[in-house]
């Protein structure tokens, strides 16, 4: 049996775990900073959050390209509904990897604060500066981010179920050191 074909490639694993950390960090930062009073600290966190978001967007594009050009390991045996749920969750997560940062970027642009990536690279604004538009976009960044958080929790719960209850070795496909 070819064991490597049963696991994700090292690069896919790297992207998965780096993005997992980046997304959880960026989400926590977003929840924390939105309640802060106007201060240099808040301004700093907002900028860091935007830089992290654009980085997540770029890495997600790379990850999607990798995913489309490299076959993932075959599904392990499991009931059909679980397989569908897993694939559906993965697809929705991919959609949100793009939607959440893009909507955040649109909000920032509409609010009149173009993003300058790491304070160096000015990014184009793809929506016009418009206060009403900004207010209309703003909540959606949050809704989509919380939707992603719910999906991530499901994803983690499912992985833990496979690891601790089914004990079918599913997690080793994405675990860098194997089992």
């Amino acid at each position: 049996m070819n064991t490597t074909a049963q696991r994700y490639s090292p690069f896919a694993m790297l992207l998965h775990w780096v993005l997992a950390l980046a997304i959880i960090g960026s989400f926590s930062m977003g929840v924390y900073m939105s309640d802060l009073p106007f201060s240099p600290q808040r301004l700093k966190l907002y900028n860091w959050h935007k830089w992290a978001g654009v980085t997540i967007l770029a890495l997600s594009a790379l990850r999607l390209l990798w995913r489309l050009t490299h076959k993932p390991p075959a599904d392990i045996p499991m009931p059909g509904w679980q397989r569908s749920a897993a694939h559906g969750t993965h697809m929705l997560l991919y959609v949100l990897f793009f939607a959440v940062p893009l909507v955040g970027w649109a909000y920032s642009s509409a609010a009149g604060f173009p993003i300058v990536w790491f304070g160096v690279l000015p990014l184009p604004s793809f929506v016009p500066v418009d206060k009403e538009l900004a207010e209309a976009i703003k909540p959606w960044h949050g809704y989509l981010a919380f939707a992603m958080a719910a999906l991530v929790l499901m994803h983690v719960a499912a992985a833990l179920k496979h690891q601790l209850i089914d004990r079918d070795g599913l997690l080793s496909r994405m675990w860098p050191t194997g089992r």
Partner: protein, 188 residues
């Protein structure tokens, strides 16, 4: 009747003899005073909606000119309403104690055709700084348009004090740009 005529004649004479003293007026709706700074590399633009000028400018005798400005700092328009509420606070413009910024010229000289240099004192938030402002003047119809830009350092005026002193967050350099439409200015 005689005195009437004499007054009228004198008035007419003074109007032609001292054109610089003729009423020169700013057209606020066609004028703009804007500024631009950077926060963590992000350009932030703002402008003032309310300002007035007292101008006695003769392009042929620039050294005799007097130019004064008052700007209502509370009329600032910048980014979000949250930012506007913030800049009124004591750490920024402190509009309660210092509602206006003023500029008073101390000397005007010509530097080329339609080009002038206006030296003067800019006072914001209780601090005064000497500035030299290059101005380009163009005339069309009865309207004189003066445009220019100059840089100031916000910390010279304690704009962004306290926690905001950190210039890696908000740059010290602020670029001020203006376009002023005036009526009643004598021809170039």
């Amino acid at each position: 009747m005689k005195t009437y005529l004499m007054v009228a004649a004198l008035a007419a004479m003074s109007a032609t003899a001292f054109p610089a003293c003729a009423q020169q007026k700013l057209v606020p709706a066609q004028s703009e005073i804007a500024f631009s700074s950077k926060q963590m590399g992000v350009p932030v633009d703002g402008k003032f909606k309310k300002f007035d000028a007292q101008v006695a400018f003769d392009p042929k005798k620039p050294e005799a000119s007097k130019i004064g400005f008052t700007i209502d700092l509370a009329s600032v328009s910048i980014g979000s309403s949250e930012t506007e509420a913030e800049v009124a606070k004591p750490d920024w413009f402190n509009t309660k104690s210092f509602p206006q910024a003023t500029f008073q010229s101390s000397g005007v000289k010509a530097t080329g055709p339609g080009k002038f240099e206006v030296a003067g004192t800019l006072a914001i938030k209780g601090a005064s700084q000497n500035v030299v402002v290059p101005v380009t003047v163009a005339q069309a119809g009865g309207t004189t348009t003066a445009t220019g830009a100059f840089g100031i350092k916000r910390l010279d005026f304690k704009i962004g004090d306290g926690d905001w002193k950190d210039t890696s967050m908000v740059a010290n350099e602020v670029q001020v740009k203006f376009k002023l439409n005036l009526t009643g200015v004598p021809p170039l």
